[in-house]
Amino acid sequence: MADIGMESAVGISAAGDGAGPGYRLLAKESPEEEGRFLEISMGPQHPSTHGVFRMDVLLDGETVVRLKPVFGYLHRNHEKIAEGTTYLGSMPYTDRLDYFNSMTNNWAYALAVEKLAGISVPERAEYIRVITAEMTRLQNHATLMGFLLQDLGAMGTPLMYAFREREKILDLFEAVSGSRMMCNYMRFGGCRVDLPSGWLEETVRLVDEFPGFLDEFEALLAENEILMARLQGVGVLSAALAVNAGVTGPMLRASGVNYDIRKVDHYGIYDRFKFRVPLGAHGDCYDRLMLRLLEMRESIKILKQALKQIPSGPVIDPKVKIRNFKPKPGEAYGRIEGPKWELGFYLMSDGSASPYRYRVRPPSLINLTVLEDLCIGQKVADVVVILGSVDIVLGEVDR
């Protein structure tokens, strides 16, 4: 598409100050370009944009020439609210960042605060954290695959199969933390309460039955000709661009870069478990979808090991205060390999009960940097597929 002379016809009017000129995709319309390009806006009310998300797309016929994502529709200024709330009071707000994976959001925040204040976590709590995080990963990947197939036009059937399995996991979350999605379960120094009786047996049963569901899903998807025609070769992300753009998680690994924070940072007790990191070869949407299926199988492996090894003991460090928790001044950056990608919390404390600076490193936002690069040259229908494979959640993009 570079031969159109994109650079001359299309330009972004860059604003240098606050009240910049109105943002338009087409900076100037020359007479021969007039009427050739069509500028459409996909969203913010759109069934496939995974939330209130808008994309301004410039089309030449059916081919995408330029794409600019626009967001901020769900901006709640969580970072400023956290500067007025105590450290513990921000924990329920972190549930609502990436509302599908509340357990891992809680863990990332608890990890950042524990790094800041130098709190250690008892063994049983670490195992519970790993178990709930891997279950979160399972339900997130299942949801994603269901939604991607829904966007492709499969009219809800695979989505409902995925949700059927997800319900079992959410029931377990409700049994342990009290709430299905907004768990608010991790605390600084461990978990809030211990597991109820019978929970571990239920989880073992779920983990034994889950591979059956995965096989079923794989039979539905893996050799499906329609899927392969629509996903293979679409939205190819090169490894160099992925690393430079700060893409992490399954999207990065689908492009062939071996970077999994569970193996790099050695946070928690992931060193005790044997699991592999699947890598993709082509970096297209098909690789990203199938990679998530493989990651689900690796999560099952981790779960089986963790459920066997979990010791008994306390689940929280009793010395950590619930009220008037005031860490010493300093800063810390804690990051985890969340199901979506690297979720990090950067905390700066000035010795008072609220953080001085609280920052969420939003993985969905940073992965959207490459959305334009992936979509240029593809058809409009592929934009939805690519966005689905990028797997964003607007609660995290906008915070």
């Binding site: 606050g18 790094k115 661009l241 690297e342 940097t369």
Partner: protein
């Protein structure tokens, strides 16, 4: 990864004229950060990215921090003439330390799997001199994050390919994450039961300076 002092020495050897400062981190076990002067920031980042031992090719997190002006009141003794006799009086003197805005970069290496190295850049002040060089030409991941810092803090990044507001709508004035941001109260909204509850609850506690 090498220690932060060694990295500082090597950067100083490689880039002449650079001014670096190591800022210690109060909380133990967490890395200290290097403060770079804005003129040489791009050169320093390029060195860190291309250097064989560091290869910091992944900017994980780009944050803005607001440090408002620090106003301190001191009581000093002043001599004044009263009725022909020199007397000592107490006078209050206000000292104002200028504030600044800060951009913090967390750099990791995906190739060598180490990190982080924390870079900081400070602006001149919070009003007129808020320009900093953009590291987007080197690290594409800083693209949206620097736009967000511009939107929420007001730091203008020179060299950024597309500096527009990210989360707030175009035409919005002011920068919400600054510590002295005053929430506008001239918008229309439907009063909810919560407003009455909140107003009633707030009367119990002394009025806070910031918006809680």
């Amino acid at each position: 990864m090498e220690s932060i002092e060694q990295i500082k020495l090597r950067i100083e050897q490689a880039i002449p004229g650079v001014i670096l400062e190591i800022i210690a981190n109060g909380s133990p076990g967490n890395p200290a950060s290097i403060r770079v002067d804005p003129e040489h920031a791009l050169a320093v980042a390029r060195f860190l990215k291309d250097d064989g031992q560091l290869r910091l090719d992944y900017a994980s997190n780009v944050t803005g921090v607001d440090w408002p002006d620090k106003v301190a009141q001191q009581t000093v003794k002043v001599l004044k003439m009263v009725d022909g006799v020199e007397k000592e009086f107490d006078a209050k003197v206000e000292t104002r330390e200028p504030g600044f805005l800060e951009a913090v970069y967390h750099l990791y290496s995906m190739e060598l799997k180490h990190g982080p190295l924390v870079l900081r850049m400070r602006t001149g002040d919070r009003a007129g001199q808020t320009h900093l060089p953009s590291l987007t030409p080197l690290y594409r991941s800083a693209d949206f994050q620097e736009r967000e810092i511009y939107d929420l803090y007001g730091i203008i990044f020179d060299g950024h390919p597309d500096l527009r507001r990210l989360l707030m709508w175009e035409g919005f004035e002011d920068h919400p994450m600054r510590k002295d941001y005053a929430e506008p109260d001239d918008y229309e909204f439907e009063p909810t039961a919560h407003n009455q509850v909140l107003a009633k609850a707030r009367r119990h506690y002394p009025p806070k300076a910031s918006n809680g």
